[in-house]
Symmetry: C2
Subunit: 367 residues, 2 copies
């Protein structure tokens, strides 16, 4: 039975966990916010489910908590050495640098090395959008996808993300793995004992498979065949080869490697809208664009044409009111960390007086 | 019977056509070079097959040959108004501006409005690569793809392209339409009377189709489903919404609209490699990356794992020696334009003494 949590109190709970684990308060806040924002928008694979591995790596001394990050400025080009701090904190620092440099110069490129798994890109994009900056964020990741023609993981599912503000609409937010599906979906299918479509992955011998467990031992496939392979490779070139971070096999797996820092690389490109036209004009134009797309004739059984980011935006609004459901396994993990650090997870549950009626059935999800 | 042409003399022939059509000599040279480079690398859909439509539009007064392009500088951010000059010339000007600004500032963003169909992006990328600049180039295009859930063309097959130099290897060049396949492949199937895979396109009622003619009346589908839709849309936002160019339905079709300028938009982002590390170090790292990918174990029946751009690079070398084959239809079109402007296309054919032996059969392709 999934129970429901209040997003803000779940965030506070996680913040306390990370503070107890030894992160500075501000860092703990960023990590907690990044995780809960992912759950809120429905990207459960990058939500509080990741708190466990983050905490285990901090506890094992795999994350730097002391030495300062290093920033190398050169006009609108910045290189940030994350010095193996926790990923969302490094990512957030890069974002701040990118926003600042974009405001100063009109555009900026920020490369990042020495980072770790940094959660969803959309967490950072949201903040850039509030500053009326169009931002592109990419990151490499540990090996899960073969090159086209290969049979074993070489590339990560290196995410590509892009955000732009709108006026009457929710912002445009594209945030995608360059695989056919996120590896998290295969993990989820394996946990539920479900089969997967044969286009998703190959087994360790290079054969297409519908068995989720075999896929996890094999490789997720790039989206769109060689096109996805090429995009993923480019992201690795920008995030890894260019910045001095790991690339290909030198981006270490956070679940498997307990010896070496991950050395993940990211890359941020910022573009200030007002350099091209007044922001209100841009927002009118993008609203018109969305209006026109949404008014297009629809295929049979399609109720609505959606803008990238719209599903997540609606999900966020809904879950802010109705709570975030966590599967028992995730709740148990968090509960155990809570017990270890003497923080009560029950404080984070949605209270009876906060329940919004969705019919009898849904009430079972509350305590 | 396809005959073979010498790439440089074919370029000269095209250059003369465009000069006679009224383009300044330098512009004619750029257009001709862009077309022949596409043929050389095997991207026939963007090669001299396009000379006919470009010439017809010039002749019909649809292309500006007088009023100067306008450049609005603001540090590393530049807006170029192409003033409806021919696409490859506008694109090339944007490239020069992007290279110059990237060298000056380390990174640059160049938006372009008032342009036309500008050929392959890889033509421009090649030049940026020679300057040791990593470049991203995107462009919108007239409507051919539906949004996810739609049934008729709304977005263009908006290309995404990215280039980076290498050391021992050919440069990394990704240059792709955001559709499942380039629309040119469906045109080609229709001309040959061949059927197409049902994943490629929908007919005008929104149903999947294997009939190339029905697909041409319907819509090419975005690559990777909603992911391709989102990427294509983002390219339209950057190239069209942000720059002030057309977007969505306001990018006019060069084959169908003989009233209005196309108002295509492009966007260039340049990143100077030496701002991050010495160029030799970067080239060593990218060579190592390519080495390692190419050494990966291969799937059954795969002879070699390829780097994006490698096929085109080899094709270029081969065709520089063996000539560019043109289908009779394309040769006829060029021949007619040659007759019209009194330029002999036969001068562009590969001469007997230039033939490299490839066996008896291939000799039939020569005059």
């Amino acid at each position: 039975m999934n129970r429901r949590f209040h997003w803000k109190r779940l965030e506070t709970f996680c913040e306390k966990l990370f503070t107890k684990a030894g992160l500075p308060e501000n860092d703990a806040k960023i990590v907690a916010e990044s995780l809960v924002q992912a759950d809120l928008q429905g990207t459960d694979s990058h939500g509080v489910v990741r708190a466990d591995i983050y905490l285990r790596r901090i506890q094992a001394g795999m994350i730097n908590r002391d030495e300062e990050m290093e920033v190398h400025y050169d006009g609108p080009v910045i290189l940030l050495d994350g010095k193996n701090h926790i990923g969302s904190v490094v990512g957030n620092r890069a974002l701040e640098l990118a926003i600042e440099a974009t405001k100063q110069h009109g555009t900026a490129s920020v490369g990042v090395k020495g980072s770790n798994h940094f959660g969803t890109c959309s967490y950072f994009l949201q903040k850039a959008i509030k500053e009326n900056i169009i931002m592109i964020i990419v990151s490499n990741a540990s090996q899960t996808m073969p090159p086209t023609g290969g049979i074993r993981p070489f590339l990560g599912t290196n995410p590509l993300s892009i955000g732009a503000p709108a006026g009457r609409y929710a912002p445009f937010i594209l945030d995608m793995a360059t695989s056919v599906v996120a590896r998290g979906k295969i993990i989820s299918a394996a946990q539920k004992g479900k089969s997967i479509p044969k286009e998703w992955a190959i087994d360790k011998f290079g054969n297409p498979t519908t068995v989720a467990e075999d896929a996890l031992e094999g490789s997720v496939l790039p989206m769109a065949g060689p096109k996805g392979y090429a995009i993923s490779m480019f992201i690795d070139i920008l995030s890894g080869v260019l910045t001095g971070a790991g690339f290909g096999r030198y981006v270490n797996n956070m679940y498997e490697n307990w010896e070496d820092p991950q050395n993940v690389g990211h890359f941020y490109i910022g573009i200030e809208i007002s350099k091209f036209m007044p922001i209100e004009e841009f927002k009118n134009r993008i609203d018109q664009y969305f209006d026109e797309i949404k008014r297009e004739p629809k295929a049979p059984n399609v109720e609505e044409i959606l803008i990238p980011g719209e599903i997540e935006h609606r999900c966020r609004i809904k879950k802010m009111t109705h709570g975030i459901e966590l599967p028992p396994k995730v709740e148990d993990e968090l509960k155990r960390w809570g017990e270890y650090y003497e923080i009560d997870i029950h404080d984070a549950l949605l209270r009876t007086d906060e329940i919004v009626d969705e019919g009898e059935e849904s009430k079972n999800a509350f305590r």
